[in-house]
Symmetry: C2
Subunit: 668 residues, 2 copies
């Protein structure tokens, strides 16, 4: 009998097919013709039937379906280790987004994707499901590397590195889908980032685009408890229910994370045939929690495993993720029989393929499917001995004892991408150089910023207003018993408006006179109830002073913005050298004296050691002559109010704290 010629023949491996009967074939073989698997069976059988261009001896190895990385952001591989062990908000708003705004472009996405592909191929991954910006670049890079990828173009309700609006992203996405439709490796997809970064309109448009074009929709769902809480508060419903209301579940959805789902949400996902991408490392590292994977599996949801981006992992190692998924399902829910090795391995392969809606072509070793295969060595010290009395044992060996470094060969769509640990489609050395160059530039950007609180403020700030200010001010210490407010009722002084406030000021002190003030400014109503509270963050540069008789003129650069984040966030983000508190009850009077505007503050101040009552007079000024005139007027007001000349001070409240603290720390 004439032997049939095929392209690749893998012989003598332990074939872990992941077909519907979970067939494991010892001394098994696989024949590949073109893009497809043409035969699966015993080595004896296939060696008799086929001859091949290339034969791989897989003795001592497992031949497995290539692993499916169900959720990642490939280009972020360039940000591996950029900023770790931080809170999600500091990490995201303080590092990821500023760096992305500065660096993410076509080049970044291409190099980052190649670096990710190199790592993933090395760890036996043949398909990845991506979501990022410039997704067309990512698709190109993945295709050039020879990897299978679902590429979802990110869509956000606010401007992103590749679009100024979501309409722009949608238009880009539509065009992108058209360009890649029918590609043998690339599946284009729509990627509305998450419920909390979308408007209802945006989600509806994204879902219709996905439905109309029949492409997957990739989205983050219920990653954090906060997201769930916000949805309950804002929409009075769960995240999944709200997404369903926007029509999202009409599409072929791939839902990343799903850490905090109610059972009824899981049911909705099941009914919507949503695939879930479980990301255990990332969910732990960012302290999002641990998803109830066994429950989802029990409900019949298709769950895959994803690494998420390296910035929150910090690698793309599906062996690590799969092992972790199996361990967490047991240890965090008290059941040592949860997610056994065979199930965990299914999540990384055939169930992962189902989750990303590609099970018709990949995820198992079956005739007719695309040839997406990894060869994993089984005879390293850390994997031995091998027990063989149960066919299940191979899953245990793969999931609990094997590592990405055991992967020897990788084939995608019939093409060898790695042979004997050598990458055949990527120039790794060149990639390392390019990655190093990005890292150097990002380091420099951050060093410049880290050394400069202003750059850090600008990096996160929306609506930072820079102002160069010149201000004349004077301050007098009062006897608290003295009723200064009553004294302001003078015929020579016109009060135009007044207010009462509780001000909680936290100062971050940096070298060279730079300070950041975080202010909670509570407005107190006449009936003593609290009205609005305003949060502002203000950076002031070194102060240049000129003294007058009673007053001082301060000139300094000043940047103010609404404080969108918490004090805790700013503290962890700015890492100040020192932190000081000034708390005051302020009565503020806008007054008019001698045709000139002043502000008079009567403050009861807690400074730690220097508590007391103070009167402060301030005015903006623009010239030396104007300052001199106002200094004179301030002196007059202070005299006419009967304040003691000895009690006059020329410093700011925070300087009083500093001095006190300095005094305390100085040895005597």
């Amino acid at each position: 009998m004439q032997k049939q010629m095929v392209d690749v023949l893998l012989l003598h491996g332990t074939l872990v097919t992941m077909d519907s009967t979970r067939q494991v074939i010892e001394d098994g073989a696989l024949a590949i013709g073109g893009e497809h698997i043409v035969a699966v069976g015993s080595s004896a059988d296939l060696a008799a039937r086929f001859t091949a261009q290339q034969t791989l001896d897989c003795n001592g190895c497992a031949v497995i379906p290539g692993l499916i990385n169900a959720h990642t952001h490939a280009p972020m591989t360039l940000l591996r280790g950029l900023a770790d062990d931080l809170r999600l908000d500091v990490w995201l708003y303080g590092y990821m987004m500023p760096v992305e705004r500065e660096f993410v472009g076509a080049d970044f996405c291409r190099v980052g994707t190649w670096l990710a592909c190199a790592e993933m191929i090395r760890s036996g991954v043949t398909t990845f499901c991506d979501m990022y910006y410039y997704e067309d670049e990512i698709a190109q890079a993945a295709a050039q590397a020879g990897m299978r990828a679902i590429c979802a173009q990110t869509i956000l309700k606010f401007p992103s590195p590749d679009a100024t609006s979501y309409e722009e992203s949608l238009a880009y996405c539509r065009e992108f889908i058209g360009r890649w439709r029918g590609h043998p490796l690339i599946v284009p997809a729509v990627g509305p980032h998450a419920a909390y970064t979308a408007t209802p309109d945006m989600l509806r448009a994204a879902a219709s685009l996905a439905v109309e074009q029949d492409v997957p929709l990739h989205i983050h769902i219920s990653e954090t408890a906060l997201e769930v809480e916000d949805s309950r508060t804002r929409y009075k419903m769960s995240v999944v229910a709200w997404l369903k209301q926007q029509g999202v579940l009409e599409a072929k959805v791939i839902a990343a994370h799903c850490v905090h789902l109610e059972d009824e949400e899981m049911d909705m996902l099941k009914q919507g045939r949503v695939g879930v991408a479980h990301c255990p490392s990332s969910n732990l590292k960012l302290a999002s929690g641990v998803a109830r994977v066994q429950r989802m599996v029990d409900l019949g949801l298709h769950v895959g495993i994803g690494t998420d981006g390296t910035a929150s992992n910090n690698d793309l190692d599906m062996f690590e993720e799969t092992r972790l998924a199996a361990l967490l399902a047991k240890g965090c829910f008290g059941s040592p029989t949860a997610l056994p090795a065979a199930t965990a391995f299914a999540l990384a392969t055939i169930e992962g393929a189902r989750a990303v809606h590609l099970a018709d072509i990949t995820g198992s070793l079956e005739v007719g499917k695309r040839a997406d295969v990894a060869v994993v060595e089984l005879e390293h010290t850390h994997q031995l001995p091998r027990f063989q009395r149960e066919s299940e044992a191979i899953y245990s060996q793969l999931v609990y004892a094997s590592k990405s470094s055991d992967v020897r060969d990788v084939i995608v769509n019939g093409q060898l991408l790695m042979r004997n640990r050598e990458l055949l489609t990527l120039d790794e050395a060149a990639l390392h150089t390019e990655a190093a160059s990005f890292a150097r530039r990002i380091d420099s950007f951050l060093i410049a910023r880290e050394g400069n609180p202003l750059s850090k403020l600008l990096a996160i700030g929306t609506g930072v207003i820079p102002q160069e200010t010149f201000e004349i001010q004077a301050k007098v210490r009062l006897d608290c018993a003295d009723d200064v407010v009553a004294k302001l009722d003078q015929p020579w002084l016109t009060v135009t408006r007044s207010s009462r406030r509780n001000q909680y000021d936290t100062y971050f002190i940096f070298p060279e006179g730079v300070r950041i003030r975080y202010r909670e400014d509570e407005l107190v109503a006449p009936d003593d109830s609290l009205q609005n509270a305003f949060y502002t963050i203000t950076l002031t540069g070194p102060t240049h002073e000129r003294e007058y008789d009673n007053s001082v003129v301060l000139s300094r650069s000043r940047y103010a913005a609404p404080a969108d984040h918490s004090l805790r966030f700013y503290r962890e983000y700015f890492k100040p050298n020192q932190e000081l508190q000034v708390v005051k009850q302020r009565r503020r009077f806008h007054v008019f004296y001698q045709d000139t505007d002043f502000v008079i503050n009567v403050d009861q101040v807690r400074l730690g050691g220097q508590d007391g009552c103070y009167l402060e007079i301030k005015s903006r000024t623009w010239s030396a002559r104007d300052a001199e005139r106002k200094a004179g007027l301030i002196g007059e007001i202070l005299d006419r109010l009967g304040t003691s000349r000895d009690a006059r001070l020329k410093v700011e409240y925070v300087d009083l704290v500093t001095e006190a603290a300095a005094t305390h720390s100085r040895p005597r």
Copy 2:
């Protein structure tokens, strides 16, 4: 200037010293003379001062203190993957202990330890803290491999593979300590296994031995919630408090696991200068839980990281453990800043050394310490790019992005054990062969046992009593309304004693007529209250029957034992083909008829479909003639009690269920 000659010089690495200032030296160098580190500094400095027998260029690598595996059972490496995804009791009593009883000896311990050493050296471990049987063999094997090891001889209150009593283990341990005292690599130690496997006397003796000999005491503490609960129930105090009461905390304790500790227990450990060995993989895999490591660190406890034995891990990879420790501390306790990379790395090195009471000689790269060093490559794709703006970044790269496969060289006590990934003290290929031979024998042992429920029963059973039984019995279906019990009050029938019982029988059905019955036998008092309950497990072999007119003689092999474990345990352990329930309320009468003993049971039985009331007459028999005579007597009794001949049955209750089930499952 004459250069000083040293043995080994490591140049051009990133030196991660883990000294008290956490100094990281770029382009750093380390000089080793004999067993010790003689210099640490810049490459320029050391290259100028020293010349060496052997120079290692560590460009592109981190030079780190060798990792400390703070808890393992090295020889169990031979049991890797033997039995996974099982409950702790099934795993321990069903697999580990039976296999250990059968296989653990000097050979097993030697080969297992070498295999473990090979794996640990490959992953950068230089010191391990062991607890097992035949610890002298382990110490010898570790010393031959060149590794540093704390070797704790296991002491148990029940017989173990190497001792028939704890006194014997203690005597062995004392001798063992004497033999290894002062060895440059081996620290002998006392290993009372755990509070729940010890008697107070045993613990006191173990603690005094450790104190007297000034060696560490290695023990498992609070691994599972059950252990904690049992201690509270039995001793009315926490595990640590009870151990303290037995004097255990007087010794230099190394406490493995510590998963479920109250704050006050942590304080006691702190005061007792106890080192903790955190074992995250094992605690997850066996669903023991997640230890509060950040809390322990905050309290100033010295915490190290351990892999535990491979049987519950399934590897000895300290890179994996350290990463997992860092991730779990965040994800399971809601704080992304918990156990940052630098802290996690400290646990694996200097803090681990403190935890095992060896920080004076290992755990950091400092002049005067023993030269325990690992060289870790940093330039693999999965580790790149490398950010360098913060010296902390190296810890992030080591903990989150590096793998055991990145370890290139390992030095212990000044001796190179691995150079360019080649092991210099162990013959890996020979070890693989020996390990495979053990695996084959263990597989055969288990296959024989798995195919044979009797072997499985004997493997776990203490007190299994084998009996060959011959029994004659007859059964009649009654009208439940019929008061048979009243009818037993006959002048021709003497009731010697009687009882009432609720019997819940679960039958596991195996091929070839083998059955296991798990019986809960509740004794009911005359006032209807429940008295004692007895749990028995009984295996019966295939039954050989001989029929008589009204009766049947059953002969079969029978093995009975008290059932120490739960029904759930036996179900998971025996994995029966089928499971059937028989629940009955039984009135049992021991009677005397015609000088012959019989038992009459009047049973109300729930069988699923065949519920009903039955009368059963039974007697033991020894010969065909005796059986014939008793069959006649049984017929007489049945007739005199007025039971219907048509209602007579010759089967057992469980067979009625089987038939009903078979009828149900048969298509009509």
